[in-house]
Structure formats: structure tokens, C-alpha cells
Symmetry: C2
Subunit: 339 residues, 2 copies
DNA sequence: ACCAGTCATGAATACGTATTCAAGGCAAAG
DNA sequence: CTTTGCCTTGAATACGTATTCATGACTGGT
């Protein structure tokens, strides 16, 4: 095999110039006379030279890599976001080092260390909760961090989410307008800010209207837990006439359980509303009424914040919430008079 | 901010030893006296030292990173595989640099170059077709490559797939045993070996039984194309009584189109069989009969091959096919006598 | 024609680690 | 007591690039 690694030195010799000149040709700011530049380029092409990114990163201190930590890849919302992230970052000349982590402090800690060892320029955490101890350490290290679809209690770190409380409120208003009276909530994991906020906005709105929720069960972002919650709800003495589910991923399990297992008609017997508006929510099999999380805008905002921090300027942490509309489909009864 | 990068030199000074000694403490093969080792470790912990992976990679020539190229992230089969890959590689001490690429030669070329620039130790390509020109170049470069869920015509590169032709055959036999007579195929993309092989195994088996397929349409691994194909099939003069769909992802679109849009009953009026057995195939809404691709075993095999190549031993390219069972659920009429 | 100022270029060095090499210490073998 | 050999350690160097600095050439203004 021809594992002859071609270095800038080889190109320099072939082109009759010095190594720094070769470096300048391939770097951004370097200034080289057109004559030498073409000579270098020709030699480089001839030899098949490409700069070694590792060596470059070592001297510049810029790895042009951002670390991505993801928890739930079975939820298509995140794969959608990942796809957009990847595309945008490639355009900006950044690479992605990806890690999957369970939502446990120890696991997250370990992964973050791994990323720091790799000198990543920034870290993006999707649906991962972070201990304050960790945010402190990262701030100390001076590495930019942005939380995607997770808030943080002390606001010492930038986070981008949808307007979760507002979203919960929109669902409550929609269900109230549809004359539902026994409204249950299978919530997102209450260990996550998103789950908490959606629940809060939802319950507050119900109570402002003089109604208390039929019941609230933590669905843990899990299909199995959500399905079990559905069974429990529907076999109670007075089942709900509407269920707001903390995300679409769980809502599909709820719908499956209602229709197929329990033989309940949706939306005739009961209304179901989700949260996320993943592509599958629009599929005919589910046709789910849900709150849209604008993945595209959320990704753009998260990257903009991350880049602002990376490019210095002492960018202070911000909490960004992006509003999204309620997408009305066929899984929930509509308010009377609504065309 | 305390962006004081702690280096091995700092630790060495603090512990009263030389930098190489520090290096030996943190490397695998180094031999250091217990006394000095503990002194070094204590100093390292006190200062918060961690070795700089970039610098280490530069000298060793081992980046401990493998490049992953993925095309279809909306197909959950790949996210499932990605999750397993990530877990296994982390256990083995490897990191993942991930890229998304369209299935176009130019895009793939660019991404591969990017990975090579980063000195990855190996490349894993999932559902990506590679030009022979590219395989040659990679072989020349001496970088191990494994194709996941894609074959390669000239067999000059290792590939791991399921037994696609055999899978197609199993579907054909099952549908024939179920007394279907007008059997259509909405195939996987015929630009991909998987799509071709499933089709070949399927059609060959039908013809061996004296039956020619009702029709064969390329579904391009796309929901939209598969849905359109379904419409076309069902509005023909003599619609099929069974459809074998090239993967689950498309099969869901076919089922949605049949049931909701066209009002056709499945499996009473028509049988549908998919390929992959993604988690969703087991959901009550779809309950899809399908051929299982054993993601776990495929991932393990792919990694084993990749590691064998990385660890030298002049491991020759292999073509590995992993068999998977037909999972019989409710979307297709079962053979009579089958319990 | 003279000077200030800009630009192109190479020599030297830095980045943070691993590895080679030589030297010294020490234990075991005779 | 000597010798052989292994183990530990530090000095020097390599990895492949970017950057600083000094030098020399060249430009333009007068």
C-alpha cells in the first residue's frame, strides 16, 4: 500500500519553496505571489497533498469540530434536527463528533470530558440535562455550550427550546374550546425542563378556566410508559375525553393503544394532542393534532448562539424560546364553528 | 476565564519529573516506578490535567476516531444501527465523526476527503454506494473501509449486508404459500445493491414457481414515490393482491395510502410485506409482516471487520451476508393451515 | 534619484504529545 | 566481588502545521 503521507514539506521541495509558503497557500490569511501560489498548487495536486487537520488544529487551537451529545435518537424530532445541524455545520466548515449518552450525570460527564480532550470548539447538547456543577466546569474551561431543547435552572448556559409553556397553553385552550371537560395529561419526563414547562402551561391554563386536569401521569418520554398510562386512564371509572401527550413519540403509542388495543375511536370517543409535529404526525395512520416545534429555526438559533460564543465577543448566556403553531389535524375534536 | 491549558510539562514540573515520564504514566505501554507514578497522578488531578488527544494523535498516527457516513436518517433502521455503533465504539475507545451525505458521487467524495484530512483510523459507510474509483483511492491511501448495508460490485471492499436475495426469496415463498397470484413489488432503489438483490431473489423465486410478478416499480426508498406507485397499482385494471415493498419505511407509506386514502382493507383485500423490521413495524398501527435485518449482528460484524483491518494483519476484503427471519404479523394473509 | 512603506519569502520556533536513545541504578547470577 | 542484564529515567527529537520575525525586493510619491 502507498501509505506515503505527503506533507507540506514534500510539496515545498517539489515546488522549490519553503514549507511556510506552502502553508500560506492553504491557509486563509496567507499572502503569496500568484506565481508561487500556482506552482505550489500544481505540486500539491501532483503529489496528492492535503493538509493534516490534526497538525493544523494543534497549532491554531481551533479544531473546527463541534461536539454533539444526543440522548433520544428513536424520537424522530432529533434525527430531523441532527440532519439540519449536520448540513449547516458542514457549510460553515465545521465537523461533528457525535456521542450518545443516557440522561445520567455520570454518563454525560464522561462524554463531555471526552469531547474536551478532543479540543472541540464548542458543545451542543440535545435533550440532555446538565448539572450546575458541569456547567460551571465548562464555563471554567472556556468552552462554549448550547443546550438544544432543554432549559437550565440557573440560566448560566445558553439554551434553545420551543415556547413550551405557551405550547401547553395553546393545547389547553384548543381542548377547552372543543368542549372537553375531562382532560388528562401524559406528560413528558418531569426530570426535563421541557416536560415541566409544557405541563405547567397546560395545567395553569386549565385552572385559569376553572377546570382541573382529569389526571396527570409522567410518561417519561417512553412508549411503554405512555401505553401503560393510557390503559390506566381508560379503565378508570370516568375516563378522560381528551389526552394531551407530552410529545409525538409517546402520542403514537397512546393512539395505538387506544385504537387497536382498547378499541376506542379517535377523535369520536376521545381526543389526542401531541407535541413536536414530527413528520410522522402528518402520516395518514396517525393524523395527529400537535404543537409544532420549528426544528429548522431552533437549529439555526442554536448554531448562531454557538458561533457567537466561539467567535469571542464575550457573548453572555441567553435563554431562547421559539414559538410554534398548533397544527390541527384529525386526532382531536375541533371547536364547534371551526371550519 | 481560566483557559490555562494544563500540559504534560506543567504536571512534570509540579511532580518534579520530566515530561516523558508524565507521558508514560498516561500512555499504555509506559513503565514507571510506582512511586513516581502516584506522584504524577496526584499532580495531574490537582492541576486538572488531561492529555491533549490531538497532539497524541499527531505523534502516534492513531486518531482513535472512525468516520461514519450516513445517507438516510429518516429511516429508523439507520438510527437504530447508529445507536448500537456509537455504544460499541465508545466501549472500544473510539470516537465517531459523523457526516450526512446524499447518495451522489461528488458529495461522497467530498465527505471522504474531509474524513481523510482528519486522519480517521477507518471509515464506515452506511447505505452509501461507492464508485470503484473511490474504493481504489481509499485502498491506495491504506484507510480501512467497511460498507454497511450496501454491497459493492467489484468486491474490492468489505461490505456487510443482510442476506438480501434470500430475504426476497422468503417473501416470495410466503406470499406464494398464501395463494397470492398477482404479486407486485415496489422495490428499493435500483441504484443500490440492496434494492437490486431483494428484487432479484424475489422475482427469481416467483418465476421458478411459474409466476411472473404483477409489476415492479422502483420506489427509490422514498415515501412519496412509494405512495404514488401504490396509487398507480391500485387503479390499474387488475390490481395486485399482494405487494412486497423494498423496505419498511416505504411500506408504511404504502399502508397509509392503501387504508386511508384508497379505503382498501389490509390484509383482507391485499397483503403487504416489508423489509427491515424496524421497531415501528411492530407498532399496532402498522403490524407489518417483514423480513428482519438483524441490526445488532450486522453492526457487530461490520465493526469486527473494521477493527481487523485497522489492526493490520492484512485483512482481505470480505462480503458478509447475515440471514434474518421473516417476521409474520398481520399485514399479509397467512398460508392456509398456518396457525 | 531617494525614501518610506508595503509585500513576499524563508529561517526559526511553537503547539503538546510519544518515542528513541543513552545513561544510570540495581538485582541476580556466577 | 564482578558481571550481565533489566528497569527506570531524562535529554533530544519527531509528528505536520501555523506563526513570528527579520530580510530583501519592490512600489509609489516627490
Amino acid at each position: 500500500m502507498g501509505a506515503n503521507k505527503i506533507t507540506a514539506m514534500d510539496v515545498a521541495r517539489a515546488a522549490g519553496v519553503s514549507q511556510p509558503t506552502v502553508s500560506r497557500v492553504f491557509s486563509a490569511g496567507g499572502s503569496v505571489s500568484p506565481a508561487l501560489a500556482t506552482k505550489v498548487r500544481e505540486a500539491a495536486v501532483k503529489l496528492g497533498y492535503r493538509p493534516n487537520t490534526l497538525a493544523r488544529s494543534l497549532t491554531t487551537g481551533q479544531s473546527k469540530t463541534i461536539g454533539l451529545i444526543v440522548a433520544y435518537l428513536d424520537n424522530p424530532f432529533y434525527t430531523e434536527a441532527l440532519e439540519r445541524l449536520s448540513r449547516s455545520l458542514k457549510e460553515m466548515g465545521y465537523n461533528i463528533m457525535i456521542f450518545m449518552a443516557a440522561n445520567e450525570a455520570r454518563d454525560v460527564d464522561e462524554v463531555v470530558q471526552s469531547l474536551l480532550d478532543h479540543q472541540v470548539d464548542g458543545i451542543l447538547m440535545a435533550s440532555i440535562s446538565m448539572s450546575s456543577e458541569l456547567t460551571d466546569r465548562l464555563a471554567d474551561e472556556g468552552v462554549p455550550v448550547v443546550l438544544f431543547n432543554r432549559g437550565h435552572a440557573t440560566a448560566a448556559v445558553t439554551s434553545v427550546t420551543s415556547a413550551n409553556a405557551l405550547g401547553g397553553r395553546k393545547v389547553a385552550e384548543f381542548l377547552l374550546a372543543g368542549d372537553h371537560t375531562r382532560i388528562a395529561h401524559i406528560s413528558g419526563w418531569q426530570g426535563a425542563s421541557t416536560g415541566q414547562d409544557r405541563l405547567a402551561g397546560f395545567v395553569d391554563t386549565l385552572e385559569a378556566a376553572g377546570l382541573s386536569p382529569h389526571s396527570v401521569i409522567d410518561g417519561m418520554f417512553s412508549r411503554a410508559v405512555a401505553a401503560e398510562a393510557t390503559r390506566k386512564l381508560m379503565t378508570s371509572r370516568t375516563p378522560p375525553d381528551a389526552i394531551f401527550v407530552g410529545n409525538d413519540h409517546m402520542a403514537f403509542a397512546v393512539l395505538d393503544t387506544l385504537r387497536v388495543e382498547l378499541g376506542v375511536r379517535v377523535p369520536d370517543d376521545i381526543s389526542v394532542v401531541g407535541y413536536d409535529d414530527v413528520a410522522m404526525a402528518g402520516w395518514a395512520a396517525y393524523d395527529l393534532t400537535t404543537v409544532r416545534q420549528p426544528a429548522n429555526r431552533m437549529v439555526q438559533a442554536a448554531l448562531a448562539e454557538l458561533m457567537a460564543q466561539i467567535n469571542g465577543e464575550d457573548h453572555p448566556p441567553r435563554t431562547i424560546e421559539i414559538d410554534g403553531p398548533l397544527i390541527i389535524r384529525g386526532s382531536a375534536r375541533r371547536p364547534a364553528g371551526d371550519i
